[in-house]
Symmetry: C2
């Protein structure tokens, strides 16, 4: 007995020592890789409650790869959160059983005869039931993927410490297509990427598929993303070469069980570049035959290929309107005058040609409406509408026109794009940008859900009250063959995926809003903070407050009052309101702010470009009048005098200075809040976020000072009482150069050899 | 009592459950990030032994940052390996104390009056002693860094399961400077890098320093590396801008405690590009003054700055011989004829100018001898000797001439560079390449220690028997102000640092050989395998065998019998023996193999370029005669007829085919061996290595088949009996294009915006 006891004691000692040894190791491992799927053991008090409510996992009889993934996730999640493993059984054996699957795959679920109609093809129900008095939680769906989505939902409830009592959840996505667009190049670089390399290792594919792709799929499935465009919209015909299709197929095979289809970008001139033809004219039978054969080839290798995303006749990309030959990387646009061959076809001609090739296989064409031309003197904000509005009704059923949320280009604040609601006979998709090209890139904290909700929630009144853009797109008000939403990813090989920990929240928020645009930004922020960091109430309150104010802060210190597109050239890092020397007029900040002695802003009313006329009547009249235009859009639609009286009672000039300054203070406040939360976060993530907030504070000051220095040189007005002058001279700010800021294409490469 | 017991049991259950939960987590975490500093708990049997031998860590009284790092490493290492924490005490309290430090920092060590003369400035002694009958292990050094190196040595003994009894170790480095050269660009790309992005995040420095840099410093210190050149030798003047010096200073502050000095590459034309001068003439007083001021500025920010590494008048880089203005990225070399200004200075003029600027601060100039000129019809292998041999004696004392191991460019096998031994009045450094630009890049397994030992061990007979290159460089035979060795790093942001797990061994082996070139390649491989994977004897035997044969396998399937430089253009990925269309003759494989109807090989004897005449007499006579030339160098020095009779009895043609084929079989055998070792490795690392060996098998076959198809088109001879013909036609192999293979500079970038 003494022997035994001492043995037992030694055993315990060893295990405890080991656990103690390992705990710091885990703490160290808080590098953000786990994202919001962070299944660390929860407080023992909560463990006691949840363990009693989930005692066993009832596996479906027929385990498809998708149901197997759901089971793996539940095992991994529950055993991690509960700090003990939850048994998997074939039949419910006790109270607290968790039953998941479909009526087809699970006799236990079939026996319940649940009404799953509302769940639709991808949704699910989660219910608390008590067959024969045994408390049971059931996750049921019509499809395997619905069951996987439901499994992630259940885990989220525990991760956010929600009650598992009397569950009666029905959830189904509002958009059928919820895609991530990767602006990733075949050489591993990422356009507008601020988080390392592309996660798609094209060179080693298909022989080597990084296991990281599985975690990428898990993260996307956990928020309902069901499509991934693997390649940059500034497309490369090589990605349609057979060997590259085989590489894409290897990625598709990893994503498939998680309900994610693979899409590729199609370079319009591919028939010439890799097809050996002398034209890419969409009406040329040889061109149409080439695309049909290419589509057949792709589907023979990737049977569930999603389709093509196309950037055509946009910023130098070839397209149906005119062909100017393979454009050298980064080359400036050349006009039709210098164009040897000219198809003179429409975007509909181009999109429909590809749609015809994909239709037999159920593939889709996502055709971007991000077009504007140097030759065109029209207000850049109006050109996409000019091109696409007249084409309504001409697109085939498997074409979706993909429109950026605003008429310019993912700025900190834009009004909605006038095409939304203007093409009721066309399937439309809203393209958002998760990677923060214009909102401080990876180092600035800017939570984007409020910006996206602002666009989705804009009421056009086109179909009466509450004709929001979201409802025009999601099929509630207008019937189109497809409903879709897309966003440009911020994902790379950085250990934390997104370059910064807070940028993970934007990936998360996009998925959640793509599933249900009715969820409040604040609710999403709270979910994310609880899953990613801590359920401590004080911490959650603090972090959610930081997030909710962050985007307005960026608007204040970069582009207040409807100003836009004031960033430096190329990399878009830092302020450049003075830039006026770029090839294309609409690439220059001065094109947008139009500041002069008289005032500032772009007149888009009838006395100006009349861009307001493209909007739905209710919005058009709102924006046409400087007195009814929301001050947040004032200088977007109006050229206002410096002394224009604002609702604050201040002059426009004074209000500008106040807003710029407020932006800096808001960042300072965020940083201070963060420093009060240190005790709730592991040291590693705390330190990086703290350092990044420090960078954001410096850079907000830089934006504020450089912008005021420049605009003051035009307004010639004093700063309002008590507002500090810029730290440096305008010349100083204009002299700064950052040739190696990340994310810009065509960065300097080293000479040939060493 | 029952209550208590059940409580105790629950406690135990929870701890055990947690440990069990955590174990798989750890197993998952076997992604290679820990490198050879992998302090996982060792077998309990071994734990029992070592725990008794190391019972406490005696901290030095005065803890410098370096001694603190040593203490942290010992605590981390021992507690990890022992699975329990080892107490740190101020004085030895029991048997098994581990005492470390210097006589100055540790009274306990001072009291021992050890003779530390042999340890020198960076070395250490490790001894088992028994003061007052108490078994004690002492790690003593004259310097804090010596103590840190000794601490890593002690941990290595345990990691490799060596005995800690009767320790009597004296270790000191044979080269004073042991540097890693990073060919990293300011935009984060890496030239010839196959492991992700640069670990130096220039954009976010100095505000954000990735903690990964600490682990980089630990890994380097563990193998004695004491210098890091942060920037590409294809240099960028921007890296000498004040803001970039401040970024480098932030890195230096992290490396400093680990005994690593920071160096930068100096672009020779910087005085023009960032200095506002109209010349970079090294004899121009304004240029000299600019460099002096720049050096003063650097040292005011980085007090222990190491110095400059310079690539001048080499592959388009500006230099003292002629200046042709900032060279556009990747631009081809332009000759003096098209050169507006021409300094006509020597490499000594250029190096000495920089040396003068650095000398007051104790800085060094590492001046590369990797030069050859398109205008020069001479055998490329001879040009560096032509330029530098006559300058012997003209370089200032703080100049080191850095010479690649062979006369061409890091090929799978080269004879030594003829400059070694030819400049006895000049400090010389051998530059090796860890990143495997020409040996299969990251996917092929090629352990480089045998290749490096082959070069270092080449006996020139210049100072009698055993006048090896290593002894000519390390000060044993020739006295020069500095002894040094350098290597191009293979380190990037990939989770496993080097792109592949086995490439970690090359980083490790470089450091170990830089410390002591006498250590056998096999011993280093064994150390690394034990520390990185497992101490299982069967596993170690198998892995060491794979590693030891791997480089010869690459030579066989890429460049057998002294063939060289047969790779494809630009990215150097895959075979291109047929390439003959590049701007510069010596960039074309046909320049090197010279295959024709009569035979194959480059005649470097008196009847040819007479490159043999540049070698030490003993080597010159050896290589001048085809019958005494080692067959491994046959075609390097001789143009031999296809029917030349080899020692095997076969004709040269048949022998070529046999060697190519043997290379493929060797890779197949390595792969088979690996598959027998699965049970000894975690699943994650096993799978990646298995996939990469699969890629190497395909690519070895590709090299073999493409090379035989091409050479057979010239030799017009049949394959020997029983040797399979190439799988495809020569046309097929010539048609293959890989525009996005990694590591090449100037890869396609995407257009301007999206």
């Amino acid at each position: 007995m003494p022997m035994l006891r001492s043995d037992a004691v030694r055993q315990i000692a060893i295990v405890i020592a080991f656990a103690l040894l390992v705990l710091p190791t885990l703490a160290q491992a808080e590098d953000g890789y786990d994202l919001w799927l962070r299944y660390r053991p929860i407080e023992t008090s909560a463990q006691r409650v949840y363990r009693a409510q989930v005692t066993e996992i009832v596996a479906p009889a027929a385990a498809s790869p998708t149901l197997a993934a759901a089971q793996r996730e539940l095992e991994r999640g529950l055993s991690g959160l509960f700090a003990h493993s939850v048994p998997v059984v074939a039949q419910p054996t006790r109270t607290g059983a968790l039953v998941f699957g479909t009526p087809a795959s699970s006799p236990a679920i079939a026996a319940l005869h649940l009404d799953l109609a509302a769940a639709g093809g991808e949704g699910y129900v989660i219910r608390s039931i008590a067959p024969r008095g045994r408390r049971t939680i059931v996750i049921a769906a019509n499809s395997d993927i619905g069951a996987l989505y439901g499994a992630f939902h259940l885990l989220r409830l525990i991760q956010t410490r929600a009650s598992l009592l009397d569950l009666d959840i029905i959830s189904a996505p509002r958009f059928a297509l919820r895609t991530l667009d990767h602006w990733d190049n075949l050489d591993g670089t990422m356009e507008r990427g601020y988080s390392g390399h592309s996660i798609f290792d094209w060179h080693r594919l298909p022989d080597w598929v990084d296991p990281r792709i599985i975690d990428y799929a898990r993260a996307n499935a956990s928020i309902g993303i069901n499509g991934a465009v693997l390649t940059n919209v500034a497309a490369n015909a090589t990605s349609l070469r057979r060997d590259y299709i085989e590489k894409a197929a290897a990625v598709a095979s990893v994503l498939r069980p998680y309900g994610i289809r693979v899409y590729l970008t199609a370079r319009f001139s591919a028939p010439i570049e890799i097809g050996g033809l002398d034209t890419a004219d969409p009406l040329d039978p040889r061109v149409r035959a080439w695309w049909r054969a290419k589509a057949d080839e792709i589907y023979s290798i990737i049977p569930d290929f999603g389709g093509f995303l196309v950037k055509a006749n946009s910023e130098g990309q070839p397209g149906p309107q005119d062909y100017r030959g393979p454009t050298p990387a980064g080359a400036a646009m050349t006009g039709p005058s210098r164009n040897p061959r000219n198809y003179q076809r429409t975007h509909a001609d181009g999109a429909n040609m590809l749609a015809e090739a994909l239709a037999p296989h159920g593939g889709l064409v996502m055709w971007r409406a991000f077009v504007y031309a140097a030759e065109n003197p029209r207000d850049r904000a109006m050109q996409a509408f000019d091109d696409f509005a007249p084409l309504d009704g001409q697109f085939l059923a498997n074409v979706i026109v993909q429109v950026k949320n605003g008429p310019i280009d993912f700025q900190p604040r834009e009004p909605i794009h006038p095409l939304f609601g203007a093409t009721p006979r066309t399937s439309m998709s809203m393209e958002l940008q998760i990677t923060k090209e214009y909102l401080g890139q990876a180092t600035h904290l800017a939570y984007l859900a409020p910006m996206w909700r602002e666009a989705l929630g804009t009421d056009t009144r086109l179909r009466g009250e509450n004709s929001t853009v979201a409802r025009l797109l999601d099929g509630s008000l207008v019937r189109t063959p497809h409903t879709a939403i897309a966003a440009v990813a911020n994902i790379g090989t950085d250990r934390n995926w997104s370059g910064s920990h807070f940028d993970q929240a934007n990936w998360y928020a996009y998925g959640r809003l793509a599933w249900d645009h009715q969820i409040a930004s604040e609710a999403i922020a709270e979910e994310w903070a609880r899953m990613t960091f801590s359920n401590d109430e004080a911490f959650v309150r603090g972090v959610v407050a930081m997030m909710m104010g962050s985007r307005e802060a960026v608007v204040d210190y970069m582009t207040p009052l409807g100003l836009t597109h004031l960033m430096a050239t190329g990399h878009h890092y830092g302020p450049g309101p003075w830039v006026s020397d770029l090839d294309r007029p609409e690439w220059n900040p001065v094109y947008y702010h139009r500041a002069d002695a008289g005032g500032i802003g772009f007149d888009r009313t009838a006395t100006g470009s009349n861009a307001v006329s493209q909007y739905a009547p209710a919005l058009a009249s709102l924006y046409a009048d400087i007195d009814t235009t929301p001050e947040d859009f004032l200088l977007w639609f109006h050229h206002a005098p410096w002394d224009h009286r604002m609702t604050s009672g201040r002059t426009l000039w004074d209000e500008l200075v106040v807003r710029y300054t407020r932006g800096v203070s808001r960042v300072h406040a965020m940083h201070q809040t963060w420093q009060t939360l240190a005790s709730h976060v592991d040291a590693e993530r705390y330190a990086q976020i703290d350092a990044f907030l420090g960078i954001q504070e410096h850079e907000a000051q830089w934006w504020r000072d450089a912008s005021i220095a420049y605009f003051q040189s035009i307004s010639r007005r004093p700063l309002p009482e008590g507002y500090a002058p810029p730290e440096h001279t305008l010349e100083y700010y204009e002299s700064l150069r950052f040739p190696y800021a990340p994310g810009a294409p065509g960065r300097t490469a080293a000479p040939f050899r060493n």
